[in-house]
């Protein structure tokens, strides 16, 4: 659609701008302040330059948290996106079951995140939980509070349980927007199921799938509450993601300089990744 040039449109955007700026710019200024200064209390600050940044970038603790974060994010993306698309392809297209499926599938998305952690904690308890009991009954030595492998398995299963529905809903929305004529044409051409998927369904889902990847990437990269309630970052530090580490630094140890520097690095990382996704998405948009 062609849009007309009109700088008065700024007035329509103004309320949004003021509210978001109040919430975004002032706190970010505070973070920047802490990141470049040091204090021995009493509101006396000394300029420290980039010392905190160097300390964070050189610390093993940050490297390990970042490594775990990247491993986690890409694992859940590799599971949730194909699984979500697969389920969406098998969903009914019309009739009463559509509503039933959508409502039931959307349910995990609306459960508060600490409750998600609590649900999985209860579900996976080695002795009292259904999952823990089942796995131990099958002969696995399963205890997510002690074994690193078990903790990661539970954490990933929890995220798949929690968020695959978002991918399903988005992919399904892309699928039902494909006109029937496309399928009829494919059938006349004798296209195989795979060809229908590869050349009709997948291209038509491209836009919603980009959004799905973008949302899942961003949200899993900032995961905090679910994992914190489930494992508390343990055993050891094996499930300490970036956000958990950051909150430990800022509110637990009150290590403000390091925490602020880490915040900025963390935010820049997400920003860079998101910018890449955004440009890819917009390029796809302009082709359509």
């Amino acid at each position: 659609m062609t849009r007309t040039q009109n700088n008065a449109a700024w007035f329509l955007v103004l309320p949004v701008l003021v509210l978001v700026a109040f919430n975004a710019i002032i706190p970010l200024m505070t973070v920047v302040n802490y990141a470049v200064q040091d204090s021995f209390g009493g509101n006396v600050f000394f300029f420290e330059g980039t010392r905190w940044f160097e300390a964070v970038l050189a610390s093993d603790r940050f490297h390990q948290a970042l490594g775990r974060q990247i491993l986690f994010t890409f694992t859940i993306l590799a599971i949730e996106i194909p699984l979500g698309v697969g389920i969406a392809l098998c969903m009914p297209r019309r009739g009463i079951w559509v509503s039933v499926c959508l409502v039931l599938m959307a349910l995990p998305l609306l459960i508060p995140w600490n409750v998600v952690g609590a649900i999985w904690n209860i579900f996976a308890l080695p002795e009292l939980g259904l999952l823990g009991r089942m796995l131990n009954g099958l002969g696995f030595d399963y205890n997510f509070t002690r074994g690193v492998g078990a903790a990661w398995f539970t954490m990933i299963l929890m995220d798949v349980w929690h968020w695959t529905s978002l991918v399903v809903l988005l992919a399904y929305a892309g699928l039902i927007s494909i006109p029937d004529a496309y399928y009829q044409a494919a059938r006349i051409d004798g296209a195989s199921k795979w060809a229908v998927f590869r050349y009709i369904q997948l291209p038509k889902m491209k836009r919603v799938l980009t959004i799905a990847v973008l949302l899942r990437f961003m949200d899993s990269f900032m995961i905090y509450t679910e994992v914190f309630v489930l494992t508390g970052g343990g055993p050891g530090n094996s499930t300490t993601m970036l956000s958990i580490d950051l909150v430990k630094l800022a509110l637990g140890q009150f290590d403000l300089g390091t925490a602020a520097a880490m915040s900025i690095i963390y935010f820049l990382l997400i920003l860079i990744f998101s910018w890449i996704f955004y440009t890819v998405m917009m390029r796809g948009e302009s082709q359509q």
Partner: protein, 287 residues
């Protein structure tokens, strides 16, 4: 002519057969998936009807000594039930403000080009991308300094950070699907902008408003790190009541489970109301 009709008839038959064959097994995948989704929830519900002794004593797939005691305590203890009210209050304030300010902004983005529009849009999205963990400490300081700490407004305002960008994004997608001619016709007919917007345009994007409100509700309802950090006593959300209770009075799984079950209910109600919007809405809007 007859040949063509015959071939199209056979094509239709083949189509119906293919559809029937697909229907015969493909229902299994969503069913299994929903089963997987429901199992942990069932376990939570199961736990919530058990006494603490039974939970710790023996493993059972359903409650043997069925009890409502866990729920009873939540409904009679003001600390518990006010947790739910507090959460609902700030979620409602947040949803109303988010949608109200996002509506004109989304209209501007979908209809006009103006100085810096692309940068502004991206900047808004970056706020959706900012990890809440970064903002915890600055928010505590900011809202304490303006005297809003431990109020519903503080949490509602803090959640605007990620909900406004989301609402703008969704509404912009919906509005771009509505032809410009409608705006132009209305202006020619002598409508002023506010009257056109409220009387004609908003009913047209009603489903978009529904979807945007749904997402704002959802993300404000489930977010806890900020909600917990910005409140202490007066506006304490249910999540923080849950953690505090479990840490003070020991390991009360039944109580925790009952509180968890009750947090699922508002979400389930909201989904039920917007279920038709979800199905249609996802396709029209961008999210």
């Amino acid at each position: 002519m007859t040949e063509a009709a015959a071939s199209s008839a056979s094509l239709a038959r083949a189509e119906a057969r293919a559809r029937a064959r697909r229907r015969s097994w493909s229902w299994l995948v969503p069913t299994l998936y929903i089963l997987f989704l429901m199992l942990p929830i069932y376990w939570l519900v199961n736990m919530s009807f058990k006494t603490t002794n039974e939970i710790l004593g023996a493993f059972s797939l359903w409650p043997r000594n069925f009890t409502l005691q866990n729920y009873q305590r939540i409904f009679t203890d003001p600390v518990w039930y006010w947790g739910y009210f507090n959460s609902l209050i700030y979620v409602t304030i947040n949803t109303v403000i988010s949608v109200a300010v996002a509506l004109p902004a989304a209209y501007a983005f979908s209809r006009y080009r103006f100085m810096g529009d692309k940068h502004l849009f991206f900047w808004l999205l970056t706020n959706r991308m900012a990890p809440p963990a970064i903002f915890v400490l600055p928010f505590i300081q900011l809202y304490s300094s303006v005297g809003l700490f431990d109020t519903h407004i503080a949490v509602a305002m803090a959640h605007l950070l990620f909900n406004i960008p989301l609402a703008v994004w969704i509404l912009e997608g919906f509005m771009s699907g509505i032809p410009r001619e409608i705006d132009e016709t209305a202006y020619i007919d002598g409508y002023s902008f506010p009257r056109f917007f409220v009387r004609i345009f908003m009913p047209l994007v009603a489903s978009g408003i529904g979807v945007a409100a749904f997402f704002c509700f959802m993300f404000s309802w489930v977010e806890l790190l900020l909600a917990k950090s910005l409140t202490s006593v007066v506006a304490r959300p249910i999540a923080s009541v849950m953690t505090r209770t479990s840490s003070i009075s020991g390991y009360e799984l039944g109580q925790l489970a009952a509180a968890g079950v009750l947090t699922i209910i508002p979400g389930a109600l909201v989904i039920w109301f917007v279920r038709n919007y979800i199905a249609k809405g996802f396709a029209l809007g961008r999210v």
